[in-house]
């Protein structure tokens, strides 16, 4: 089946079998391997992408369902491939990653989370992170990354509005 969608701001067209997930469509047909597949049944969160602005599991959607939608994967967060988004910078600075397998999913989830909860408490941060698993870091660096990203984000907003 033909699928037309916008991925990271660019119009894309692919011909996919219905049984292929959105994650497979991104990775195999569009060559965007930043979206990782861990469990392939919705538990680990490493495949999280933005679908029309909302964070979803790309392993729990078929690619054909994304026809007409806008998808943002980790490759598209910063706008240009050479730079890092604010959330990505925060992960780098606080050592919010070790092997990095889980990181694309975390970065996407945190981006969506901060858009809704710009000034989170630590409890809200932990709740917001509960849908992503990391087997390396022990989460402390990740919690710090979210705190830092929230602060950077608020500062950036204050600057642009003031």
């Amino acid at each position: 089946m033909d699928v037309n969608l916008i991925v990271n701001g660019e119009r894309c067209r692919a011909r996919v079998e219905p049984r292929k997930t959105l994650a497979d469509l991104l990775r195999e047909d569009l060559g965007l391997t930043g979206t990782h597949l861990g469990c392939e049944h919705g538990v680990c969160g490493s495949c999280t992408v933005l679908l029309d602005g909302l964070a979803v599991r790309s392993c729990l959607m078929f690619g054909v369902q994304a026809d007409g939608s806008e998808v943002t994967s980790v490759e598209g967060l910063a706008g240009d491939p050479e730079s890092l988004s604010l959330v990505q910078r925060a992960f780098q600075e606080t050592h919010g990653l070790q092997c990095g397998f889980c990181t694309p999913g975390f970065v996407i989830s945190v981006t969506a989370f901060l858009a809704e909860v710009p000034d989170p408490t630590d409890e809200q941060i932990r709740d917001g992170l509960s849908g992503n698993l990391c087997r390396c870091t022990g989460y402390q660096g990740i919690v710090q990354a979210v705190r830092l990203a929230a602060r950077l984000r608020r500062e950036e907003r204050a600057e642009t509005s003031g």
Partner: protein
């Protein structure tokens, strides 16, 4: 972990969807949020030949209210239960239950109709519908019918739905003033299915409990309504209600599952605690909203 091949259909109206279901019979599966069905297909626990994706049917999403009833469309996402003001104001128990469903990424896709049709007794929404005496509206090419929640959930993962029927909405009663609602549950990790939980509503008038609804999560093969607890509370003085023994009595006769996550006895223990907690919070909220607190006879502090 890849689904077997299937034919994909994406009808844009309820009529088109039920026509497809009539034609394809039990070779077809409805796909809503996919948060339960896609894992089932990936693990090859199910291999439907046809998928009828209802996500393009706009008429299936959203809520409306009339004559004291809230109608929530089957394709309404779990997320909307938290954010939609009409839903939150009309049936607060839905909004209180939603944050307990998985994680926000799951709630962005998962739907009300999908949760009900999937009929996991450890899920939140089936328990809410049973507690509130909701009716589930279903359609097929043969017509439309409404099924009381108590009759809809038949046994473990089994509903009264026929293979050619589509869940189109759920109808829930809007309670009046003086109400409080709460969901309490115990899960090993945040976002996991609960080992045991309770979804409760209480209405107080003049310091007296005039209505109580108690639905239990994970306490049997189907969502259980704790009628003895409701009866014990109805008519009781809101201040003097013994919620600890209400919880204990409510689970005494239940036979929850015993598995690797917990024994039946452990689940009964947790269930009693969750009932006590949820009722306590619901009651406190209801008392705060009581229209005639001054009329309370026994409760001196009201």
């Amino acid at each position: 972990m890849k689904a077997a091949a299937f034919d994909y259909h994406a009808p844009e109206s309820v009529d088109a969807a039920v026509a497809l279901l009539a034609e394809l019979g039990d070779e077809a599966k409805v796909l809503a949020g996919g948060q339960s069905l896609v894992p089932v297909m990936a693990m090859r626990l199910g291999r439907p030949e046809h998928i009828v994706d209802v996500n393009r049917i706009e008429a299936l999403a959203g809520a409306t209210r009339s004559n004291g009833t809230l109608r929530v469309g089957a394709l309404t996402r779990h997320r909307d239960l938290e954010t939609d003001v009409l839903i939150r104001d009309s049936v607060p128990l839905l909004a209180r239950a939603a944050p307990h469903i998985g994680h926000f990424q799951i709630r962005n896709r998962g739907t009300v109709g999908g949760s009900l049709a999937h009929a996991d007794s450890a899920a939140e929404l089936p328990a809410v519908t049973v507690a509130l005496d909701a009716e589930i509206e279903v359609r097929s090419s043969r017509g439309s019918r409404r099924i009381r929640a108590a009759d809809f959930f038949v046994s473990i993962f089994m509903t009264a739905l026929e293979p050619d029927e589509l869940v189109t909405a759920v109808h829930l009663p809007v309670w009046g003033r003086g109400c409080g609602f709460a969901v309490a549950e115990f899960a090993r990790r945040h976002g996991d299915f609960a080992l045991a939980g309770a979804a409760c509503g209480v209405q107080v008038d003049g310091g007296r409990i005039v209505r109580a609804a108690v639905g239990l999560i994970g306490m049997g093969g189907v969502p259980v309504r704790a009628r003895p607890a409701e009866q014990a509370l109805t008519g009781a003085d809101a201040h003097g209600a013994d919620l600890v023994s209400t919880g204990r009595d409510a689970v005494a006769a239940l036979d929850p599952p015993s598995d690797a996550h917990g024994s039946a006895a452990y689940r009964r223990h947790l269930g009693a605690q969750m009932i006590t907690q949820a009722l306590g919070r619901a009651l406190a909220e209801a008392q705060g909203q009581d229209r005639n607190p001054g009329q309370s006879q026994a409760g001196g502090t009201a």
